[in-house]
């Protein structure tokens, strides 16, 4: 069961509309390393996670990612509100506009719609945790790239918050990985799949 809270995890207040900024930030909504993929990955992987710390962290980080999806959607919404057709054309947002007007659609900056092809739920706790740590780093790099491309301080402030959360999540997944490995056979960590071979 999920309950919606009528607030953002971090406040967003963008005063300057910018199609150019919206065009790159939409990638963290529905792109390959975006928040929709992150939430889908963790909330799907948790079912076969055998360790209690891992079940909790996948649930709680997956839930936080849904909150981040809302923050990114809010950024794009505020950046595209009150844009003129001239701005939309001049800043290259016309290719998005023709399909979605200024609605929020999960896609990569390059236009590819959200796809689960960029994530895995492998059914092996160790494999999944390595994927999760890589996913956090990929999202962090994407936020670093956005910080290189965007000048607006109101936008950068929010992006810096989201970037910092990727680092915390990376740390927590690393801790779960260490907990999981500590509970395996020290002579051969990969002798079996704890999600499949360890019957409870």
């Amino acid at each position: 069961m999920f309950v919606y809270e009528k607030k953002l995890q971090y406040p967003v207040r963008v005063c300057r509309p910018s199609a150019a900024n919206a065009k790159v930030i939409i990638s963290q909504y529905g792109g390959p390393d975006g928040e929709m993929g992150a939430a889908t990955r963790y909330l799907s992987q948790r079912f076969v996670m055998p360790y209690r710390e891992g079940k909790a962290i996948l649930t709680d980080i997956g839930t936080e990612e849904l909150g981040h999806l809302e923050i990114v959607g809010t950024l794009v919404y505020q950046l595209t509100k009150n844009l003129t057709i001239d701005q939309i054309k001049a800043e290259g947002f016309d290719t998005y506009f023709v399909d979605h007007t200024v609605g929020i659609y999960p896609q990569a900056a390059g236009g590819t719609p959200f796809t689960a092809a960029a994530l895995q739920s492998k059914g092996d706790a160790i494999t999944d945790l390595y994927e999760d740590m890589a996913a956090e780093q990929k999202a962090r790099t994407t936020y670093d790239n956005i910080l290189r491309l965007v000048d607006d301080p109101d936008v950068k402030d929010v992006i810096r918050f989201l970037r910092a959360r990727e680092i915390i999540h990376f740390q927590r997944f690393g801790e779960v990985l260490r907990i999981a490995i500590d509970r395996l056979n020290e002579k051969d960590f990969y002798a079996f799949n704890p999600s499949f071979d360890m019957k409870s």
Binding site: K7, Y10, P11, R13, E53, I57, D60, E64, R172
Partner: protein
């Protein structure tokens, strides 16, 4: 909305956001350090602080979750009232 009201609303909201973030971050830490006595104490304090700021927000603005909506005599269903989080302009 009167300007002062808007400022007051924003201050209450920012207090909730700050206090609930402390709780969110401690939850992740405690998920992987469930025996950390210091963190458990910090969580209790943060939880208490969050409850206070959420109560103040609910009193002045409204419920943060639909389930906590207070039905008042002669008033319609308040959960649908603006603003929603993406449209807050201050």
């Amino acid at each position: 909305m009167v300007h002062n009201h808007a400022n007051h609303f924003t201050a209450l909201l920012h207090q909730v956001i700050m206090d609930s973030f402390v709780v969110d971050d401690l939850i992740l830490y405690l998920d992987t350090h469930p025996d950390d006595a210091c963190a458990l104490e910090a969580f209790k304090a943060a939880q208490c602080q969050e409850q206070k700021s959420e109560a103040a927000y609910k009193e002045a603005v409204g419920a943060l979750i639909a389930q906590n909506t207070e039905v008042k005599d002669g008033k319609c269903w308040g959960w649908i009232d603006d603003p929603w989080p993406w449209e807050i302009e201050v």
